[in-house]
Symmetry: C2
């Protein structure tokens, strides 16, 4: 998948180890699904460690059911500081009576091995919900996990957070801030688990830029709204979703402490990372064969544009139609029409484009007569753009999704063991 | 599928012709999909006619895109009176510049043939959106359609409104009102079209009970909220959804003119019809193999219970899990948790039942250890009940849905022609 460029930002190789002073590792500690006879044949436990203390921020799922690791991480990030991330796949450690206790144990095990404070550890889990997390494999694996930490360990860590993911999703950028070259990198898992899943998304971002606790949180909270929060695979908000950023300051820039131009540069780099991770996530949605980008403009407000864009990319009928490469414009009008926002449908235009061309599908609320062959050609590509104009105002928004396929049903209908 | 009994109501044979004085017919007039080389091999045009003028009411889609027939019917029902219904499948007559004109022509053609006022005709269409409706086949067929009207013509009319429907969905009941035996019957199409679809639901109900214009509307508006509005196949609110009731008064009861006991009896019969039609619709959802009923109780308000029940039956992950017969309780907690309602998740219990037994899946927000064999047995049935208790108050609600299957993707991914 091609990365989408962003001004003043250069893509570089790597992920969570791209920034100076971040080591990572991933191992197969042997977590198994309840009832499964074999363990996952891949890494299932990862560690990311900063050489120095970082300012840190996170955004969490809005689901009322919150995974135990979320609760523990929230507590640990109250002071806006962190040194390490410990994360496992296979088991989500959610909806278990002893969840918080186990999440705390994970932090303590990692902290002990690293010689740091457990409160400086971010903990995350992804996998099956409602099965007791066995702590032994994690305890037994911690020593070798820590010993194997390297400044290029990001691929091993990335493998450890993947579940039904079919693509490796990591990215890194460089940008100038305060006369220094800063680096930022991240990795993301989603949307799925090896066994049944909640479209769980975990994102870990590291940077050597210097920024205050308050502003790293503000930057993240703002950027997540227009990136990960505008991507949907199946409309389910996971119990374990979390995105966190750790900023070490090793790049030597003067720390960002107010919402000035330097802050904007930081936020811009974060946007480049998270917008592209959101696109990668949608493209790798369970069973997906196509990335769909829905760009809405001409809305009275950005909120209306966002509501319409999300309504389209979340429509099962629309998603199945993209899979079937059927330019059924009526379905797009239908999804626009039932979105919970106020606008006049008789002003709405729809276009569709891809690398192979573009075509007008609707004008002023009516489906236009279009060339089916052109439409088929446009739809034959891997990345499809739906362009909607509401013709009412300056608000715009982009949302990302994927098609609905047989494989989505297969992946999610399979028995857990 | 077994009908769900309702007190003081007896199920009888038939559909829209069950009540005294209603004739119906359906023919194949030859409407074709654009680009299709053959016409549908089934009836595509239906007429329902009352011997006398009826009080009539309807409830329409909330989609901002409204099919042209909806706009015309709304106009015609302003006076609360109707004599006939003309309805076609194959073409939705929606998102077309000449839609209203064509819908009016359908009313005029029917009215002329029947010798009634065009304003007394209810018009509906279902099928592909955004293709110009050819009026010729309808004009040419109208004479034989009217000539073939009989007091047992409901099966021919029912066939004409079906699209991807695999089951015939009609029902009739008898009930006592004002010392007279009244009859009420209805038919429903949904969820689908022969070609791509919008989960369009059309429901036509006839009765020989006597009731005022105002109260037939009030009864319908109330009952639709707890029946059709609580059923979902794929979360898409169609552009052409409509449910209408015609009440002739031929049963001879004293007309219902206020919200008294007699009104309640009428509403109760309407509930028996519409609740069972909603269940039939969900069971016949596109590609569905199972009917899911989600019953939520213990909510602070009915609204909260409804929100939770709908969140569960609309969850793609949950629906795929039911298809896969996998008792993944974590997914149910997840869907409960992201529902847009306020309650304490740590009070929530989940049970599952079917003809083959029942099983506890969650207690106090945690997944319980349950016997997978029992769960599999429960899930092997065609009708599955998910029972959720929020443990906070008196509010309850039931919602109906279906599983998400390969066939859903197949039906909706197929090219239109």
């Amino acid at each position: 998948m091609e990365l989408k460029p962003v001004k003043n930002v250069t893509f570089v190789e790597g992920g969570v180890c791209a920034a100076k002073g971040f080591r990572a590792n991933g191992i197969q500690c042997g977590l198994a699904h309840a009832g499964a006879t074999v363990t996952a044949k891949k890494n299932d436990l990862a560690l990311i460690v900063a050489d120095t203390e970082c300012t840190a921020a996170a955004v969490y799922t809005t689901n009322k059911v919150k995974g135990a690791p979320i609760l523990v991480t929230k507590e640990h990030l109250k002071n806006g500081k962190a040194r390490a991330v410990i994360v496992n796949s296979v088991n989500a450690n959610t909806c278990n009576a002893d969840g918080v206790e186990k999440a705390n144990m994970m932090c303590e095990l990692a902290a002990k091995e690293l010689g740091i404070d457990p409160e400086d550890v971010i903990v995350a889990s992804t996998g099956v919900i409602g099965q007791v997390l066995p702590i032994e494999p994690i305890a037994n694996g911690m020593k070798s996990l820590a010993e194997g930490l390297t400044y290029d360990g990001n691929p091993r860590a990335l493998e450890a957070i993947m579940t039904t993911d079919t693509r490796k999703k990591e990215i890194a950028v460089q940008f100038e801030m305060g006369g220094k070259t800063c680096t930022m990198g991240g990795m993301l898992k989603g949307s799925g688990m090896i066994h049944p899943n909640m479209a769980t998304t975990l994102t870990f971002i590291t940077t050597d830029a210097a920024i205050s606790e308050e502003l790293v949180q503000r930057a993240l909270s703002d950027v997540v709204k227009v990136t990960l929060n505008r991507a949907s695979v199946d409309g389910a908000t996971s119990t374990n979703d979390m995105v966190c950023v750790m900023a070490s300051g090793s790049a030597g820039n003067k720390p960002v402490t107010k919402e000035d131009e330097e802050f904007e540069k930081f936020q811009n780099a974060l946007y480049a990372i998270m917008m592209n991770l959101a696109r990668m996530m949608a493209r790798d949605g369970e069973g997906a064969t196509k990335l769909i980008e829905c760009a809405v403009s001409g809305a009275e407000t950005e909120k209306i544009a966002e509501t319409v864009a999300k309504s389209v990319i979340c429509s099962s009928l629309f998603k199945a139609m993209i899979f079937g490469q059927d330019a059924n414009a009526g379905r797009i009008y239908c999804a626009i029409g039932y979105s919970d926002a106020e606008f006049d449908i008789s002003n709405v235009d729809i276009d569709m484009s891809s690398k192979s061309g573009s075509i007008a599908l609707g004008r002023k609320g009516c489906v236009t007569a279009f060339d089916e062959d052109v439409a088929k050609k446009v739809l034959s590509e891997d990345e499809i753009q739906i362009i909607i104009s509401l013709g009412e105002g300056p608000g715009s928004a982009v949302a990302w999704g994927c098609d609905l396929t047989y494989d989505y049903v297969k992946i999610n209908g399979d028995y857990r063991s």
